[in-house]
Symmetry: C2
Subunit: 209 residues, 2 copies
Amino acid sequence: MAGYVSEAVIRRLPGYYRYLRTLEAEGVKQISSQGLGERMKLTASQIRQDINCFGGFGRQGYGYNVAELREHIGKILGVDRVHKMIILGAGNIGRAVALSDSFPASGFQTLAIFDADPKKIGTNIGAIPVQDVETLAGFLANHEVDIAVLAVPLETSQQVTDCLVENGVSAIWNFAPVDLKLPEKVTVVNVHLEEGLEILSFKMKQMNG
Amino acid sequence: MAGYVSEAVIRRLPGYYRYLRTLEAEGVKQISSQGLGERMKLTASQIRQDINCFGGFGRQGYGYNVAELREHIGKILGVDRVHKMIILGAGNIGRAVALSDSFPASGFQTLAIFDADPKKIGTNIGAIPVQDVETLAGFLANHEVDIAVLAVPLETSQQVTDCLVENGVSAIWNFAPVDLKLPEKVTVVNVHLEEGLEILSFKMKQMNG
DNA sequence: TAGATTGTTAATCGATTAACAATC
DNA sequence: TAGATTGTTAATCGATTAACAATC
């Protein structure tokens, strides 16, 4: 178990985690791959294959214990621990991430926001201070930061990224509509919101003819 | 051409569109599948296969005309036309979508925002009025709406969705962390932001341990 | 025990890559 | 024309599904 895990499987993990939390909240104690498959619209076979990438969490003749499997997958995802974040850019997206309480609820805590606009520097967004992006390197020297949320304008995104990487940041949640140039050791997840709208537009056309 | 197009191809289309716009902005007139592949980190073969789902836009011995291919893919995506949107929920996400100018720049125009909070109703977000969600059905009866952006709390997301669908909305950009129950004719694109963070967390663990 | 359901191997399906004739 | 590169068919690879022995 837990050798190579394909991207396809990784992308499904948060879905498992979400459905299992829902089931747990509903008071469901036990579920079979069949039952979970019906809910998630996946085959029972695929669910068993996916779960067995990480270990045999089920019992023959019984299925899976919901709370137990949810906890296992939470640990696999790493959401059982706190992640310290900083947000780059106090624009619409940066603000939305900073003000959301669903991220802190899952252990993703924002330490600080950085921006270049003198009008924003020194203000607070929620309880989080907006600092001068010029002080970013200094901040990173003095704080453990797990994740940087990149929400700056396209034009400065690569430059800010370079500064993050130079100062030891190794995980970036990227909202800029660009594929950042990064060394291999840096992990990135792209959001690319505008692409979702484009795909929606495409599918609408496709559906109508 | 343009028969069945796989999800895998559809997901790559916005990337093609984005790279081609960048190339055009850089003044690049012509590019081969080889050259585009190097930029996008895809194989030349895959690029030719993908593009030929929609037609032979290239010339042997030459490659592709950047402006022409960009325009073709824009039309395929449907971003050559205006899409009218409404936003459900004037929270952090709803506000961010409403205030962004990158969406209107691609023809995605927001007509109105709906919320249930009396303190928000009657205010404006940017130039867009916040209206009472109770008036949603009436609004939909009197306006052409192409896309609904669902950014309400999890608890009310299915209920609001049902109202949208009953009143003829057939495309939903969903930010709620749930798989909505929808009739087949309704197109949905899920954003599920929190899943991106979870995947990032997983990959960080994977990289270190 | 008998029935249910897993974990896992084998079969199938679909997507990606390679190859190459057509042709600009 | 010769060289380059497409469009397209064939080969390969990987992911999903099916099957079934193991076992709770």
